[in-house]
């Protein structure tokens, strides 16, 4: 790790990177931003913005479960809960005639309330309030390794999932007629999003995680003219706003997640007039 820090000192002699915690934050951002920029494209194309929002909120319950079980690391509990929750929402969505947004809303409310009840017991919620807005100071070298592993696995899966997801977003029966296993694809994608959300939520925050997923893709849609540009721009915009937002939060002494999302929103409104239609 020290070698990485030394290299960063040599290559990036910026004031905000003098501290180790900011170096960690930057490294984390360099992995979180492309991950979310990438996943966001198909989350938007498959109209899953509301779903991923619910998933972000479920992290509260994930942490609560971790606390109840007395786990030292909450990450395992959050991951397990996020994956189960995502699979459950998708399952109920497939097997119920209720509209998807109602189902997602029910699940989202349940997980938020459950999380709050557990975490606020005895007035102790203040200890966990950083979960809402994220805390870049909390990133450890171990977390960075977990992120790196997530990014690597996600990239490999993405190469397999992108085409099927693109077909399914247009028409599921058509995708199936071409050999795509539509429901397997959907489960794999929702689980991927669940894992990405859970490994990043402590730094980005429950309230902002969904913006990080949706906004880069929404910006990229304003300018991209094909799938490659869509993905490329989404990742680039996420990276640029991620790093700039991190620096900005250092100088303004404010929440990093919020600064990143504000920049992304600005990016969205600036690119809006470039839309063709």
């Amino acid at each position: 790790m020290n070698a990485v820090y030394a290299a960063m000192d040599a290559l990036l002699p910026f004031e905000f990177l003098r501290y180790a915690f900011m170096k960690n934050a930057l490294l984390a951002m360099l992995m979180i931003a492309p991950l979310f920029g990438m996943l966001g494209t198909m989350a938007v194309d498959n109209r899953m913005a509301f779903f991923s929002d619910a998933l972000g909120h479920s992290a509260l319950t994930g942490i609560a479960v971790g606390v109840l079980l007395g786990l030292r690391s909450q990450m395992a509990a959050m991951l397990a809960f996020g994956v189960l929750w995502a699979a459950l929402i998708t399952f109920v969505k497939h097997h119920s005639r209720m509209s998807a947004d109602t189902i997602i809303s029910v699940f989202s409310s349940t997980s938020v309330a459950l999380g709050l009840v557990v975490l606020s017991r005895g007035g102790a919620f203040a200890r966990y309030s950083s979960v809402l807005v994220g805390d870049v100071l909390a990133i450890t070298p171990g977390d960075l390794l977990a992120l790196l592993a997530t990014l690597a696995v996600s990239l490999a899966l993405w190469a397999l999932l992108f085409n099927p997801l693109m077909l399914t977003s247009v028409n599921a029966p058509l995708a199936q007629s071409r050999g795509v296993r539509a429901s397997l694809t959907e489960y794999a994608f929702t689980l991927l999003v669940a894992v990405a959300v859970m490994v990043s939520i402590r730094w980005v925050g429950v309230m902002l995680i969904n913006s990080l997923l949706i906004l880069p893709a929404a910006c990229a849609r304003n300018v991209a003219r094909n799938a490659r540009a869509y993905m490329g721009l989404s990742v680039l915009i996420a990276l640029a706003c991620g790093v700039a937002g991190l620096a900005l939060s250092f100088y303004l002494n404010t929440s990093a997640g919020a600064a990143v999302v504000l920049l992304l929103a600005a990016c969205y409104f600036c690119t809006l007039p470039l839309r063709r239609r």
């Binding site: 194309d45 977003s169 799938a227």
Partner: protein, 266 residues
């Protein structure tokens, strides 16, 4: 009332009396649907459907909404469970190898603001390379070739969501034809398409039927189109109530009963 009928094996075909000749890689000659039923959530959607679909013919499924036409297509596509049998047979009655099915769905509802282009979409459906890496020259050529079959090469770089209804259906038809299918399934492919687009679409389908050896199964509400282009018509209402040539079905009392509200023949 449901009166399942089974076409006699070797029954004379309407426009291709010589039977099936070569052309199809798997040697498919006909698809025999035998006593097919579909029950979903305790509700019987299709009851005892028996019919034959022949290569080189356009078979049209007609009937009121909820008659089970789309359900039958989905069963043939293997997307829902059914009882009964679906057999793919060669000319001499042996099972045909690996039957390829092309499918054009009903008018689509999708996010039309996505930047995914026609080329992206086709390349993603035909090839395995993830299209976010870009579409290579060889694949671009394959896509162009596919699009030229339905005369829409000019649409290659348009966003999929920017196409008109007729353009979109021609693109989806081009996709369904790549690789060349043995069975082409068209599920009300032109609902909501302007008259010019409709004519162009069916002229292309007609041309395909004449020049390629494939069975075409069409669901349509447009009885005028069915009368003009179909070789065989199957009237459905929970099952098959009448099948035969367009003339036979359109002049039948069963047809009058189903479409009485519409003033008879279209």
């Amino acid at each position: 009332m449901t009166t399942p009928q089974t076409a006699r094996p070797g029954a004379p075909k309407l426009r291709h009396p010589d039977g099936c000749h070569g052309g199809s890689p798997c040697g498919l000659c006909r698809i025999e649907i035998d006593h097919l039923s579909v029950t979903l959530g305790g509700q019987k959607l299709l009851h005892d459907v028996s019919l034959h679909v022949h290569c080189g013919e356009l078979t049209a499924l007609i009937g009121a909404n909820g008659a089970g036409k789309t359900t039958l297509l989905r069963a043939l596509l293997g997307q829902i469970e059914y009882t009964g049998a679906v057999r793919h047979l060669t000319q001499d009655g042996r099972p045909a190898a690996a039957v390829r099915t092309g499918y054009v769905p009903q008018q689509l509802e999708f996010d039309r603001s996505s930047p995914v282009t026609v080329t992206d979409f086709l390349a993603g459906a035909i090839g395995r390379r993830p299209v976010f890496l870009g579409v290579g020259r060889a694949m671009r050529a394959r896509v162009g070739e596919a699009l030229s079959r339905t005369h829409c090469e000019a649409l290659a770089d348009r966003p999929l969501g920017a196409l008109s209804g007729g353009e979109l259906q021609r693109v989806l038809l081009a996709l369904a034809l790549t690789p060349q299918p043995d069975l082409l399934i068209l599920d009300e492919p032109v609902s909501g398409v302007d008259p010019n687009g409709l004519e162009a679409f069916y002229r292309t389908v007609d041309e395909l039927r004449r020049t390629n050896h494939m069975a075409i199964l069409l669901v349509s509400h447009d009885l005028g189109v069915v009368e003009r282009y179909a070789d065989r018509v199957v009237l459905m209402q929970g099952g098959v109530v009448k099948q035969g040539s367009p003339e036979v079905v359109f002049d039948s009392p069963e047809f009058a009963a189903v479409f009485s509200g519409r003033g008879g023949r279209a």
